[in-house]
């Protein structure tokens, strides 16, 4: 990006304005389409501005981890395929994709969005295994918030096949004819707050990402608690700046929950 373009973005933000006409605390246009992939047990298409993410959930049967024998297992994986951006390289997930997946995973896990104990089938022996795969198909900035929208909508709208224990008391099969929703207990979104010359913006687009001094991703539960946090990129925050960022994130989270709830209602009609 040219120096000129960068400085124009910065000087606009100084004045409380943004290149695309948004307010500093305003998200771009958001589209969420649940159940986008018929073959997946859950899925969602999520778009914030030009950023497109499709998440999908697949379900299997497996053995629990030894330290949580009575819990199902969820694995979150994110892929930044070269499809999505001229800067993405082929190969296994890089540190950015791994960080994104782990931030999402931790927020979901710590807030107990899914009651994993309800996903044990034969405790200690057989449990549901959930794979949540997040694919970024177009990168226009703020991959994390978009990915979290896709992920959480996928979980909230998934229907998993019923597990049937065979007569031997050991073998488990999935009955694909009968499905039920996941045991959901909570909702979470992530709001990425960027700092530019002492000002804060939410939902930076791909050009704005180039001028951020620093970024703080804050996961917020629907009841307003902080369910995770990650300073991303170099740069620093003063203590009072962190506090300000949290307030902004909490406020902005409401829009995201509205969008999610609207999307879910649309399919329940």
């Amino acid at each position: 990006m040219s120096r000129l373009k960068k400085s124009s973005i910065v000087s606009l933000i100084k004045k409380g304005l943004r290149v695309d006409g948004r307010k500093l605390n305003e998200y771009r246009e958001i589209t969420i389409i649940p159940n986008y992939i018929a073959k997946a047990e859950g899925s969602a298409y999520a778009k914030i501005g030009g950023t497109l993410v499709i998440a999908g959930l697949k379900v299997g049967i497996g053995t629990p981890y030894p330290d949580t024998p009575n819990c199902g297992v969820i694995t979150v994986n994110a892929e930044f395929v070269p499809f999505a951006s001229p800067t993405f390289e082929p190969g296994p997930p890089d540190e950015n994709a791994i960080e994104l997946a782990r931030v999402i995973d931790r927020s979901i896990r710590e807030l107990k969005v899914i009651d994993l104990e309800k996903l044990a089938i034969i405790p200690g022996e057989k449990v549901y295994i959930l794979w949540l795969d997040i694919y970024v198909f177009d990168h226009d900035g703020n991959l994390l918030d978009t990915s979290m929208l896709a992920a959480i909508t996928t979980l909230l709208t998934a229907r998993i096949p019923k597990a049937v224990i065979k007569e031997d008391g050991k073998t488990v099969e999935l009955n694909k004819e009968v499905s039920e929703p996941l045991p959901i207990t909570n909702k979470v979104v992530t709001v990425s707050v960027g700092k530019v010359n002492g000002k804060f913006i939410v939902d930076p687009n791909i050009d704005e990402e180039q001028v951020l001094d620093c970024r703080l991703a804050i996961s917020i539960s629907e009841d307003g608690r902080i369910a995770g946090m990650q300073k991303m990129g170099s740069g620093t925050f003063a203590l009072n700046e962190v506090i300000e960022a949290v307030k902004i994130a909490k406020e902005a989270s409401k829009t995201l929950f509205d969008k999610i709830n609207e999307a879910i209602r649309s399919i329940r009609k």
Binding site: I37, A40, G56, P82, F83, A84, P86, D133, Y135, F137
Partner: protein, 238 residues
């Protein structure tokens, strides 16, 4: 298992109600992504494919370039949630083979000699798989290349012909692929009458093979029209 599954009913219709020579419903859309230089979406029955094209662009490391033509890099990939059982995100041997035959098909079509010392990168992501993903992928790729403004000899239209319960059928779906006797994907430059991809997975007599070629050609002509309409919608309705 073969033979035990009834894939053609007493009325000569297929499991999804189609006649043997009938295509699945098709939807094509050009220019669906922001970053890619060209992109397209193709839906064929329950098969759904996205394609993105970047280039002609520079390559690193430089020693991969060719002095007299563009190189072509192709990745055909199925996302983990596109299949009945979750597929590992890492490229399988099948995906590596298909990336190769797709690249070779595209090399016959693109005027690669116009862009020496560059690369043209074609990415195909199967987001839902219900058979015919390589042929749908090739069509999406060819539309995305057109969308990127890369000169081609012709578009590619492609379809798989199958043999199920002894009958040749056009544009097979997943059940027909799994329990049928043969799957023959074929891709052509329809206007030039040239085959750019041809594979046969299964056993056919010589006569069946000739019949299959004819049936494929019939489908390809129809798909070619739909491709042209998709391009028109993007570029001629403006």
């Amino acid at each position: 298992m073969i033979g035990k599954i009834k894939l053609i009913d007493e009325n000569g219709l297929r499991v999804d109600g189609r006649k043997p020579g009938e295509l699945r419903p098709v939807k094509m859309e050009v220019g669906v992504l922001k970053n890619a230089d060209g992109s397209a979406y193709v839906e064929q029955g329950n098969t759904r494919v996205l394609a993105a094209v970047y280039g002609p662009r520079e390559i690193h490391p430089k020693h991969l370039t060719l002095p007299d033509r563009a190189i072509l890099r192709t990745r055909y990939h199925m996302v983990p949630y596109s299949t009945d059982e979750r597929k590992s995100p890492a490229p399988t041997r099948r995906e590596i083979e298909l990336s190769k035959v797709i690249r070779e098909a595209l090399e016959s079509v693109i005027f690669v000699e116009l862009y020496p010392r560059t690369t043209i990168d074609v990415f195909i992501e199967v987001i839902q798989a219900d058979a015919g993903t390589r042929t749908a992928g090739l069509m999406a790729a060819s539309l995305a290349l057109a969308d990127a403004g890369i000169p081609m000899r012709d578009l590619i239209a492609a379809v798989a012909v199958g043999k199920v319960n002894g009958t040749l059928v056009l544009d097979i779906n997943q059940v027909e692929d799994e329990f049928g006797e043969a799957d023959m994907p074929i891709a052509m430059m329809p206007n030039l009458g040239e085959i750019v991809l041809l594979q046969l997975n299964g056993v056919l007599t010589e006569e069946e093979f000739y019949e299959a070629l004819k049936l494929a050609q019939k489908g390809i002509v129809q798909l070619y029209e739909i491709e042209k309409q998709a391009l028109m919608r993007k570029y001629c309705l403006g």
